[in-house]
């Protein structure tokens, strides 16, 4: 299996913008869940989506997954403006979502779970051999530690189940993989496994949207962090530029509240003297 993205260039650079959201809003009755959301995801980039409870992370994921069509706003996918009205639309575009509950069938084995609903057939019967071989090659590519692909998912550890769920999302070679809280309720070793898996996805050229409450995990694997607060964008940060404290203050609103806005309005009214002096002379 190869990364089959039509926009993939031989030079490896520049990385294409796969997903682009502008002014996306969603309202449930009186509740404004999302307001003017902007989001960019590039090929081979891990974007963490963080925010407090009720910030709109899950709603945004559901908009992308086609569960809730947005009220307004523009979604561009690989340069084309698209409309995502149903989960099928989302999947056909190449957006795969792995939900927190994984949605695996405990009584089925790994192969059956991976191909559930998209089974390969040959001459009217299931092509078990091909499915098993492709399962192995996919899991190997992800350096997954699964003892056998023919054991029931119920007997796997939390990290292994997460691995299976992520591997299943890759069957259709999506451009974007959305992981909703992949490390919640996992032990330290399983978390390590999942974080390594996110790195693998990045290397394979998938754009990854990672939703997590764990700042250490976010800072470990993400390239950019998009902060949502009360349904609005509250800053986008490059992980290499910031500390987790900065991001937490953006999540909690310590950087943007009535006091700081008043202070900002005051400084904007009276320009600081010497503002133009801080340029690097040798730049």
């Amino acid at each position: 299996m190869t990364v089959t993205s039509p926009t993939k260039q031989s030079g490896g650079r520049p990385h294409e913008n796969v997903l682009r959201l502008r002014g996306v809003s969603k309202r449930f009755g009186a509740v404004q869940a999302l307001k003017d959301i902007e989001l960019d995801v590039h090929q081979g980039e891990v974007v963490a989506l963080v925010g407090d409870n009720g910030a709109g992370k899950s709603t945004l994921v559901k908009v992308l997954a086609g569960v809730h069509p947005p009220d307004s706003g523009e979604i561009e996918f690989e340069g084309r403006t698209v409309s995502i009205q149903s989960p099928t639309d989302s999947r056909d575009l190449g957006i795969a979502t792995v939900y927190q509950d994984l949605a695996l069938c405990d009584n089925l084995d790994v192969v059956s779970n991976l191909w559930l609903g998209q089974e390969l057939t040959r001459g009217g019967t299931l092509d078990e051999v091909e499915m098993e071989q492709r399962s192995w090659s996919l899991l190997r590519e992800l350096s997954a530690k699964i003892p056998s692909v023919r054991i029931a998912v119920a007997s796997l550890s939390g990290g292994q189940r997460q691995t299976v769920a992520i591997a299943r999302s890759l069957i259709g070679e999506p451009s974007i993989v959305i992981l909703d809280e992949p490390t919640a309720a996992l032990g330290v070793a399983q978390t390590a496994e999942v974080l390594n898996l996110v790195e693998r996805l990045r290397e394979r050229g998938h754009g990854v949207i990672l939703i997590s409450h764990n700042m250490a995990d976010v800072m470990a694997v993400a390239d950019r962090v998009v902060v949502l607060r009360l349904g609005r964008n509250n800053g986008t940060f490059r992980v290499s530029d910031v500390t987790s404290e900065t991001i937490i203050s953006a999540i909690t609103g310590a950087t943007d509240n009535a006091v700081t806005r008043r202070a900002a309005a005051k400084t904007a009214a009276t320009p600081v003297p010497g503002d133009d002096l801080d340029e690097e002379p040798e730049a």
Binding site: R13, A192, M219
Partner: protein
């Protein structure tokens, strides 16, 4: 090695080797198993796991790697985790204990059964206090006895050194700098630092700062460095400085991205890596004028770029280093690639570990 090969290497008769092996496996030092060589049955002789396993732990700027190895430095279990840039000692050492416990579980042993732990961190360590030598180089790990802190958590002897020194140790023991009486190992990744290896051991200096080549001044008026000076080599050639040049590029966030882009033929990435090589070459020339190594081994993540980095490095070295009759020191890539420090941590633990079995008593006099 098989018994026949042992006899060949040592020059002893096969019968003598067989006797010694029998005796040593009786006392639990060796482990024998049946294998085949050129179609014939042979006895494979390895050091027994019961002599003990050691753990190597390597914190780099963005990764934690842990390995458990047997007495022959062969790795029997390994795991790694991506880390955030500003990792802190308390959370990370706790994580090491949990991961080590899990790994020991999978091997059917327990943490107290290990002999020792070798620990590498991406900053120089003062061996008198066990603390990071210089403030500013590793903020989350300052002001504590790093080794002592892990020792208290696992109850095992812990030996600490900087990742550069451990990388150097691995390359001298079983890598590109083997049998070099004086060699330098330069780690180029998120940070730049070097190990000065003299007769197989790293030279630490008084406070452990020896070999901090990343903080050699290249440009008096250059950018401000995290160490508090200006124009250090790191501000021109280390990972963050190079990646900063690609701010507009959404796909360029890690040193490995840069190396991959250069491999794929991206001209600007190749140029940036080559420029880094040139700057490192100047510092390496100063290093070789002072230290006169036989070989300079380049490791770390940027070292994976191979000749893209090394050719300009060599050129700059040639221009600025004092030539001797043998020419300039040989510049080679690390044979352990980005696992050098982990392997060095294992070697450090093995060499300092207390031996549980008195081998001398049981060997024939």
């Amino acid at each position: 090695m098989t018994q026949v090969e042992l006899a060949g290497t040592t020059g002893l008769s096969p019968a003598t080797v067989s006797n010694i092996v029998k005796e040593l496996s009786g006392s639990g030092v060796l482990h024998t198993s049946v294998t085949s060589r050129s179609g014939r049955r042979a006895t494979l002789v390895t050091l027994s796991h019961e002599i003990g396993l050691v753990a190597g732990v390597h914190f780099s700027s963005r990764h934690l790697r842990i390995a458990i190895a047997d007495a022959s430095t062969a790795v029997v279990a390994e795991t790694h985790v991506p880390l955030s840039l500003d990792h802190r000692h308390d959370a990370e050492l706790d994580r090491v204990v949990l991961l080590l416990g899990d790994m020991c579980d999978s091997l059917g042993t327990e943490i107290p059964d290990l002999l020792a732990v070798g620990l590498g961190i991406p900053a120089p360590v003062d061996r008198r206090t066990g603390m990071v030598s210089t403030p500013g180089l590793l903020r989350g790990w300052e002001g504590i006895d790093v080794g002592g802190s892990l020792e208290a958590r696992v109850g095992l002897p812990v030996f600490v050194d900087s990742e550069a020194n451990l990388g150097g140790l691995a390359e001298v023991r079983s890598g590109a700098a083997r049998e070099a009486p004086a060699a330098a190992f330069i780690h180029v990744g998120h940070h730049i630092s070097a190990a000065l290896m003299i007769d197989g051991t790293p030279f630490h200096g008084v406070t452990g700062k020896a070999g901090q080549i990343g903080h050699v001044t290249i440009d008096e008026n250059g950018p401000i460095c995290r160490c508090g000076n200006r124009g250090c080599l790191e501000t021109l050639a280390a990972g963050p400085a190079l990646l900063d040049l690609f701010r507009e590029d959404a796909g360029m966030h890690r040193v490995t991205d840069l190396v991959h882009a250069a491999e794929d033929g991206d001209a600007s990435s190749q140029r940036v890596i080559a420029d880094a090589g040139r700057h490192i070459g100047i510092a390496a020339a100063n290093l070789s004028n002072l230290f006169d190594p036989e070989r300079i081994v380049v490791g770390g993540e940027l070292g994976l770029a191979g000749e893209t980095l090394l050719a300009p490095l060599r050129h700059a070295l040639e221009r600025s280093a004092l030539a001797s009759a043998d020419g300039i020191p040989e510049v080679v890539t690390a044979s352990w690639a980005d696992r050098a420090a982990l392997q060095g941590a294992i070697a450090l633990a093995l060499e300092n570990a207390p031996m549980p079995i008195e081998i001398a008593d049981k060997t024939p006099a």
